[in-house]
Every structure is written in C-alpha cells, then in structure tokens.
C-alpha cells in the first residue's frame, strides 16, 4: 500500500514535469498553429543555463532565474527570427525548420559545454528525504517539484481564465481568424505565448537538472512523451495538458512498477521482466491510441 502511494507520487512528479512542457507546446500549437519540435531544446537550454549559473555562483535562486531568462529569451528569439516566417506555410515546413533548430541548439550546446553530462548538486536543505508517512521516506526535492508544478498550474489557470491576456489566448485557441478580425495585435500575442511556453519549458529543465543529468539531447528524450500528453489532452487545451500529463505520468510509472510483477505470475521471471519492460514502455502509446479511438480530438479539445 505504501509502495503504491510512493509510486503514485513518482507518477505525479513525472506528470508535473510533463505538464510544464506540454502546456507550452499545446498553447503554441493551439493558438499559433505551429508544430514546435524545438520545444525540447528550450527545456535543455533552461537546464544548461541553470547548471552553469549554479556552478558559477552557487546560488539556487540565481540558477533558477538564469534558466528562466535564458529559455524565455531564446524562445522569443526563435519566434522573432524563424517562426514568424513560417506561420503561413504548411506544417511540413515548420517541422523541418524546428527540427533544424534542434540540430542547431544541440550542436551549440556541444560547442559551449561539451558532450559530457553535467551534474547539478542539490543544496543541502533540498537533498535527503522526509517521511511522508511512517516508513515511507520520499526525496524532498521531488516533493518540491510536485508543489512548484502544481503552483504553476494554478497560476496558469488564473492567467488563462481570469485575465484579459488569458481571454485573448483562449479566444485565439478557439478561433484564430476571429481574434485577428477583431483587431487584436496577433503578432504580439504570438510572441507572448511563445515566450510563455519557452519559460515553462525552461522551468521544467531547471527543475529536472538535479534529478536527471543535464546533457545534449535531453530535450528529445522527453519531447516524445510531451507530444503524447498534448495529443491525449487535446491540442490547444491547458486543462487537457494538465490531465493528460498526470495521466501519462501515473500510467507510465505504475506500468513500469507493476506489469513485470503481474506477468511473473503467469510466466518465467526473466521473460516476464523483459516482456513487462517492453509492455510498460508501450503503455502510454497504447493509452494514446485508446483515447484517440474514443475521443479523436483528445480529452478536452480546445477547438470545440
């Protein structure tokens, strides 16, 4: 029972990270109609910048700030320099251009930081574990990720549902042409949305640094799962990204933890483990297929 609780927390923690990435991606796709493969690069840039600042200054807060600023600025620069030219083109061109950006940023990071993974040390007050229940220690830092991720989700909800900018974003996601026809400066809105998405991706990168390793190519590893989240949640929907991310995070973790054990009951142990590992990594894609079968537009489609 306590094991299940711990695995659920692990799932939520993965889900929160995916939400930070997925919310930006879904906004960019929903509002701007751009498939941004370079979203993972922004995650990587946030992680690298934070690792660099942390190593130089030793300050957690400066590292956080550095990661956010670097990712946000890079995002806006991408929008301004590259994507602006591509809004009118079809998706294939956008995919090609943003794929090119992945190569560009990966190679840039190799030139700046080398190929060796960088490891970010946690400050003493964040390393170690606390007992969430008697006999169930849980790493403090992972709890912090969950809390901060949920706070960001609440903040985003407020921004989208309760502010004027949010109203424009929602309107943009529902009917882009109408927003433009009403005289809203869509260019500014696009830059803003892209910057916000980049900021969130950078934040996810900053948070991920101390848990995983910071290395070139880390963005692509997580980008695929992020796309699954966006598709499951419904393109353009923040709420969908939230539910999609938690669903993917929990399902992925629980499958990894329990499928081999269940298979062991019916077959030889080593075969069960091998097959279980395979099934668990397929799990989220099967989930995506199932969701698309039942709700072809995702769980919470924005373009109703």
């Amino acid at each position: 029972m306590t094991l299940l609780l711990e695995q659920l927390l692990n799932g939520v923690q993965l889900g929160v990270t995916l939400f930070l990435l997925g919310s930006g991606l879904t906004l960019i796709f929903g509002i701007m109609g751009v498939i941004n493969l370079a979203h993972g690069s922004l995650y990587m840039i946030g992680a690298f910048a934070a690792a660099f600042v942390a190593a130089e200054t030793g300050s957690v807060f400066l590292a956080l700030l550095g990661g956010l600023v670097a990712a946000g600025l890079t995002g806006m620069a991408i929008e301004f320099v590259v994507l602006r030219r591509l809004y009118a083109r079809d998706h294939l061109d956008q995919v090609l251009a943003t794929f090119g950006l992945i190569l560009f940023f990966n190679q840039g990071m190799v030139i700046l930081f080398g190929r060796q993974p960088i490891f970010v040390a946690l400050p003493p007050f964040l390393s170690g574990a606390v007992e969430i229940l008697p006999g169930v220690p849980y790493p403090v830092y992972r709890l912090l990720i969950i809390v901060l991720g949920l706070l960001v989700a609440v903040g985003l909800w407020f921004l989208i549902q309760r502010t004027r900018i949010g109203a424009l974003v929602r309107a943009g996601a529902t009917n882009r042409e109408m927003v433009r026809a009403l005289g809203v400066d869509i260019r500014l809105l696009y830059t803003l949305v892209f910057g916000l998405g980049a900021l969130l991706a950078g934040f996810a990168g900053v948070m991920a640094g101390p848990v995983y390793s910071v290395n070139v190519g880390m963005g692509e590893q997580i980008l695929i799962l992020t796309f699954v989240v966006v598709v499951i949640g419904g393109v353009g929907s923040i709420r969908g990204a939230m539910y999609g991310a938690l669903l993917v995070g929990v399902v992925d973790t629980i499958l990894r933890a329990y499928v081999p054990g269940l298979l062991r009951a019916v077959m030889d142990a080593s075969q069960a483990d091998m097959l279980g590992a395979g099934l668990a990594s397929m799990g989220v894609y099967l989930l995506m297929a199932l969701v698309l079968l039942l709700k072809p537009r995702g769980l919470f489609p924005a373009h109703a």
């Binding site: 094991l3 711990e6 695995q7 692990n10 923690q13 993965l14 990966n106 190799v110 190929r115 060796q116 993974p117 490891f119 040390a121 946690l122 390393s127 170690g128 574990a129 220690p137 790493p139 830092y141 992972r142 848990v211 995983y212 390793s213 290395n215 070139v216 190519g217 880390m218 590893q221 973790t253 990894r256 933890a257 081999p260 142990a269 080593s270 483990d273 091998m274 279980g276 590992a277 395979g278 990594s281």
Partner: protein, 395 residues
C-alpha cells in the same frame, strides 16, 4: 518537365563521379593506414567514446603516429548510440572511404548493427568495448576480435564478488538491450544466492524513482545494477536522494562505477564494491606507462574504456607487424592478432578459442586515498576466466 530532367541528369552525373575511382585519391605508397572508429560521442554515454578515441590516438602518438611500425590515421565518427546511424557510417566508411579495419563501438546494440556489414564486406573488426553474447558463441566470425571482454564476464565477476561479500538476496537491474540482458544472465551465472527482483530499465531512461521504490519494498541484502555512463550517474545519485545509500549496499560491475561516475557521484560512492578487469592503480610497467601518458596528454585519469582502447591499439599494432604492415591478407592478420603479442595494461592477456579474452578479474572498492575518493584494487576474484559461449564457437 525540363527542370526535372536536368535535375535528374545532374544527380546521375554526381553519382557517376562519386562511384568512379577518380573521385577518391589513389592510396599512395606510404600513405597512412586508415582505421575506422565508430563510437558514441554524444548523449549520456558520450564520454565513453571520447575516452576510447583519445586512448587510440594516444597509443599511436606514443609510437610516432604508428601502430606496429605502420603509420595509421583514425577516422572517427559519432554513432550517437543509434544503431541505424552506426550502420550508415560503416557503409560509408566501407564504400566511399575504402576502410577495411574498424574499432570503437561502445554499445552492444550499435555493434550488432555495425559488425555484420563490416565482416560481410571482408573487413576486420576489433572490439574495444562491446562483446555481446550473440557474437561470442555459434555466430562467432573469423575476422571479429574482442580485446575488452565478453559482456557476461563483467557481470559474472560482480556475481562472484557478491558471493564473496556473503550477500544472500540481491536485487538486480539493467537496461533492456543486448548488453543489459547479457548483464543479468552473467550475474546470475555465478551468483549463488537468490534474486529478489530482476528489473529491466530503458536505455534512454533518466528517472529511476519507480525502481527506487521497488528496491526499498524488496529489502534485499544488496543491489546490483548495470548502467553505463550517464545512466549510472543518474541512477546512483537518485539512489542517494532516495535515502537508500545508508541502508542497502551496492555491488557493481565496472561500467556502473568508472572514474567519471565516481567524480560525478562524489561522496555518495564511498565504500561501494566494484568488479573489473583493470584499474588505474595496476602495478605493471605498461599500465603505469599508459596512465601516466594519458594523464599528461589529456589532464584526466583514464577510465577503463580508455585502457581497453589502448590495449586494442596495441593489439592492432602487433597484428599489423605480424601481417607485414597491411590488412589485405586477412588470414595473416588474424594469425598475428591471435598471438596477442603485445604488452597488455592488464598484465597478462590471451585470446580464447572464440577470439574473446581469457583474463583475470579483480575486486575494487571506492576509498579515500589522501583525501580524494578513488577506486582501489583489493583482490583477485576470477583467474584465467573465459566465457560461457567459447565452447560453441567454431571458426
């Protein structure tokens, strides 16, 4: 229509030029022998390939740009841990660059894609790291040599070490790919206790939280895991963050705890038991010469990936010398290679019947040496150890 025809014409012209022997400079007399190095230089496993490449180059530099008296040139490309990419590089090296002699591959899944193409094209492959089980037994080949070890060996030695430590119940983990399956098979071959859980992780996994929770729930005597490069660093750091470090000891094969892992993991690594075929503190002349030269040239301590590549370079040198300085006569090269007439950094080294090494295995421990954490060689675990597949190889 005209446009497409002319484009086709240009393409055809390009193909003709590329295919003609004129496009490539003819190999002049005395031009260096080119050796293809396909290795992993990016991603979490990037430093493994970088160490191998640097050691190969060092071995040649120490002999004035020669191996076995033959001037050599390494042509290095990054496979990015993608088998398909490795295969493409091999095809290009074989067809366009006319390279016959290859080494460098770190990961067994890449090796599995690269080696058959090379051997089918009558090339020679000398492995400086990966030694997957599927090429060690019935599928062994005449022009395929492994200087490092057969994969299972690393983990058999860890299993033997776990016996020595007196662990009864061990939780074992490895990534779900060829070398990971070899790892768990190898560990179980010599370990005499019970396995509480056997878990396959993903080769691209970065978060091991689910596995940590399982380990805590299983309460084993010890944890054995095979996670090379960045994977191991992430795993051990998360092991420490989950508070498992003080409660459950680890028995590791050398890929999970090399000097880079050690530096990245820091204090959390102290006291960990490791099994290996070589360590930078080995007390023989060739090992001392290599470690000193590597430190002077690159300003860092070599990992065993570097040591194996260095041995591989020496083995290639010995084979080239015996074969009259060329790779054209593959049988002469093979005969010379199998003599293993080179001073190995391991002290003693010879090839078994399947052209994989027969060597000794040692227990290492992470200890403080004058304030710095270092891997210290403790005792011999296995002597003249061959592998389980040698008997079924007929070459």
């Amino acid at each position: 229509m005209r446009h497409s025809t002319s484009r086709r014409a240009v393409l055809a012209a390009g193909l003709v030029v590329a295919a003609s022997p004129l496009a490539k400079p003819a190999i002049a007399q005395g031009a260096p022998l080119r050796i293809g190095v396909i290795t992993t230089l990016s991603g979490p496993g990037g430093y493994l390939g970088a160490d191998a490449r640097d050691a190969l180059q060092l071995a040649a530099e120490m002999d004035g740009g020669r191996l076995g008296g033959v001037p050599v040139q390494f042509v290095v490309e990054d496979d990015a841990l993608r088998p398909a990419q490795g295969k493409q590089i091999a095809e290009r090296f074989l067809r366009n660059e006319r390279i016959r002699l290859f080494t460098g591959v770190i990961f067994s899944n890449v090796l599995g894609a690269v080696v058959p193409d090379i051997l089918d094209a009558d090339g020679i492959y000398v492995s400086c790291n990966a030694g997957p089980s599927n090429f060690a037994g019935r599928e062994c080949r005449r022009n395929y040599f492994v200087v490092s070890w057969q994969n299972d060996n690393l983990h058999e030695s860890a299993g033997a070490l776990a016996n020595i430590m007196g662990y009864q119940r061990v939780f074992i983990l490895a990534p779900n790919y060829q070398a990971g399956r070899d790892a768990l098979t190898g560990f179980k071959r010599l370990f005499r206790g019970t396995i509480t859980n056997e878990v396959y992780t993903r080769l691209d996994q970065t978060d091991y939280a689910a596995e940590m929770a399982q380990i805590r729930a299983a309460r084993p005597d010890a944890v054995y895991h095979f996670h090379p490069g960045g994977l191991g660093i992430a795993f051990i750091r998360q092991y420490a963050q989950a508070g498992l470090l003080g409660t459950i000891p680890q028995v590791l094969p050398s890929p999970s705890m090399d000097v880079v892992t050690l530096a990245a993991v820091g204090d959390a690594a102290e006291g960990v038991d490791v099994s290996s075929h070589w360590n930078s503190d080995f007390d023989n002349a060739e090992s001392r010469r290599f470690v000193e030269a590597f430190r002077r040239r690159y300003n860092r301590t070599p990992t065993y990936y570097a040591q194996q590549a260095y041995d591989t370079a020496l083995a290639i040198g010995a084979a080239l010398r015996g074969a009259g300085g060329s790779v054209n006569d593959t049988e002469a090269f093979r005969t010379a290679m199998l003599r293993a007439d080179f001073p190995s950094t391991r002290g003693k080294f010879r090839f078994g019947p399947n052209q994989h090494p027969i060597q000794d295995w040692y227990a290492l421990k992470v200890e403080r040496v004058s304030g710095q954490l270092a891997l210290v060689t403790k005792r011999k675990i296995l002597e003249n150890h061959s592998d389980a597949y040698a008997a079924s190889c007929r070459v």
